[in-house]
């Protein structure tokens, strides 16, 4: 008889301290939302989604139904009190959802309730039993597991007896639970109240607040889990985006530091620079910051790095926030780096966007998406500082932290350039983001003896032996090369023409004792 050695099943999730079962959840299928809710909305219960006009609550609710129908085998009923069926179909089409097809397949049922006070005469007592019957019939007719009521508060403007409406809504939400459907109830946000008519008093399991702000001419959308009974949730505002693929909440998981640190190296693309990192270059999965003032050669270093990746046959995604792809390729050709062949072979993609074209979160979501879709091994962001144009420094730092975390988990090596102001404050300016980086290099072009020369130094390189020397950074039509700076005995350095002269001189007078001496 053979004994089967079976591994024990993993222990069931620990119960909460009060002995309750962990909450069952219904995945929304919305990018990022299931991550931040640890699995979706409370199953079999209503969730309140509230926000101002145009904040995206209808589309979010619709996507919840569409994903449910398509991906989780859960048909849904959308009861609209605001938009007509034609409008719903039209608006959903912009997200790539074909509601008519879903309706024809009985995976979705759209119902528009028209309640216009001016068209109704009220006389005597009434209730909303008709709504219950209507919704119940809709649910039963397609076996719906999900329901959206958008925006049910319009009952208050359609009917004058607020007392009846309130009582009936309370009954409705209790009834929804007995039907076992997972529901989204939307509410219009008003001033300091979550919803105009206090729906939050009835729906207490889960409350999601959407918000849209316009700053610097670009709209940013945010989502916050205000309340989630029985479930851990981050109370932070999460940026989200609505585009032709639906809603994406920023796919941030823990922002933890659990990613594996790689010990594999990869070239910086500049031989002399690899040498400064112990001949091997960066670690794979490193985040590298190159900062410097204008014209110090940051983009050239980035291009070398990109080209090196392509030479290894790795995909490189280059986010350009300052120049167009053709400008970049032309400029790089002038220093002997031809990026065009890599672009033709689709190993290099340059994605150029004006920073102000999207809000900060828009950029972040777009970047995540491009990375996710294409799967590059190497990413360049040039320059990351242009992001500050669309957000405050803390926001930019938070966004970068998310992006870096995301890339690290995928072992993507990223190089960020950072344009710093002149005047020697480079290190201070970058302090905000440099703490997020594994490697930080400063490039400069100090003026001395009537000429400007480029220098490079490594400020930090986590976990790597690295040179502490300042090297001279020479750009020619063969690209970037690094040259040791001559050090004089007095500790000062010779750079550029002075270095050349002194080196020649040193060669000529090799036999003679040094003529430099300490100034006293």
């Amino acid at each position: 008889m053979t004994m089967s050695v079976r591994r024990r099943k993993p222990a069931p999730p620990k119960r909460a301290g009060n002995g309750r079962q962990p909450l069952a959840k219904a995945p929304t299928g919305i990018v990022g939302l299931d991550e931040i809710t640890n699995g979706g909305l409370p199953r079999g219960r209503p969730t309140l989604v509230c926000g101002g006009a145009g904040c995206g609550k209808t589309l979010l609710a619709m996507e919840f139904l569409v994903r449910g129908a398509l991906e989780y085998g859960e048909p849904g009923v959308f009861m609209s009190f605001e938009e007509t069926i034609d409008d719903l179909v039209e608006n959903a089409r912009s997200l790539g959802f074909d509601l008519q097809r879903l309706s024809a397949r009985r995976r979705l049922l759209l119902d528009y309730v028209r309640l216009e006070r001016s068209e109704l005469t009220e006389t005597g007592a009434y209730d909303l039993e008709g709504l219950f019957i209507r919704l119940g019939h809709a649910i039963d007719s397609i076996g719906a597991k999900r329901v959206v009521l958008d925006t049910i508060e319009l009952l208050f403007s359609g009917l004058s007896d607020r007392f009846v409406v309130r009582a009936e809504l309370a009954r409705l939400f209790r009834w929804l639970k007995t039907k076992g459907v997972t529901a989204i109830v939307t509410g219009e946000r008003e001033a300091e109240h979550l919803t105009r008519h206090g729906l939050e008093e009835y729906i207490s399991d889960c409350v999601i607040v959407l918000d849209q702000r316009v700053r610097e001419q670009s709209a940013t959308r945010r989502l916050r889990i205000l309340k989630y009974r029985g479930s851990a949730h981050g109370g932070n505002e999460m940026p989200f985006l609505i585009d032709d693929r639906g809603v994406s909440v920023l796919p941030i998981t823990s922002l933890g530091l659990s990613h594996e640190a790689s010990t594999a190296h990869l070239s910086t693309g500049v031989a002399g620079l690899d040498e400064m990192f112990g001949k091997q270059g960066y670690f794979r999965g490193n985040s590298v910051l190159v900062s410097g003032t204008a014209g110090t050669g940051k983009s050239s270093l980035a291009a070398h790095f990109a080209a090196a990746a392509c030479r290894r046959g790795e995909r490189c995604l280059y986010f350009a926030f300052e120049e167009s792809p053709s400008q970049i390729t032309r400029n790089m050709r002038s220093i002997g780096i031809d990026l065009a062949p890599w672009m033709r072979r689709d190993l290099l993609r340059i994605h150029a966007r004006r920073p102000t074209a999207l809000g900060l979160e828009g950029h972040l979501v777009a970047m995540h998406r491009l990375i996710e879709d294409w799967g590059p091994r190497v990413v360049v962001v040039d320059p990351v500082t242009n992001m500050i144009a669309v957000g405050s420094e803390t926001e930019v730092k938070a966004m970068l932290a998310r992006l870096i975390d995301f890339m690290k988990r995928r072992q993507i090596t990223a190089l960020f350039t950072s344009l710093t102001e002149g005047g020697g404050a480079a290190e201070r300016t970058d302090l905000g983001v440099s703490s997020l980086m594994d490697v930080w290099m400063l490039v400069g072009n100090p003026e001395a003896n009537g000429e400007r020369n480029r220098t490079i130094q490594i400020v930090k390189a986590r976990g790597m032996a690295h040179s502490n020397q300042v090297r001279e950074f020479v750009m020619s039509d063969h690209g970037v090369t690094l040259v040791d700076i001559s050090r004089r005995a007095d500790g000062s350095v010779a750079i550029g023409s002075a270095r050349g002269a002194e080196q020649r001189h040193a060669l000529a007078s090799r036999a003679q004792p040094s003529r430099s001496h300490r100034a006293k």
Partner: protein, 100 residues
Amino acid sequence: MKNSARRTWRLRLYVAGQTPKSITALANLQRLCDGHLAGRYRIEVVDLVQQPHLARRDDIVVVPTLVRQLPPPIRKIIGDLSNVERVLVGLDVSPRDGAE
């Protein structure tokens, strides 16, 4: 006036089961029609519990709802029809209609 004299009133009352509200509404409606539209009306009662699909088709959420189907245009009155004056206004039954 000749026209209105010949008008037939088709009224449909949506209810949800035999509830006190629906019984009151029907009684009120019957009384009102007998008083003001004698011989010129037809009442159809739709019980949504029996025919739930009609709630969506006819866009009903409140019960009782009275719908004037004829003469056009369609008019809706909600409630148990306990205020005769308001029902008459809502149905657009003019006093002359009733006086005939």
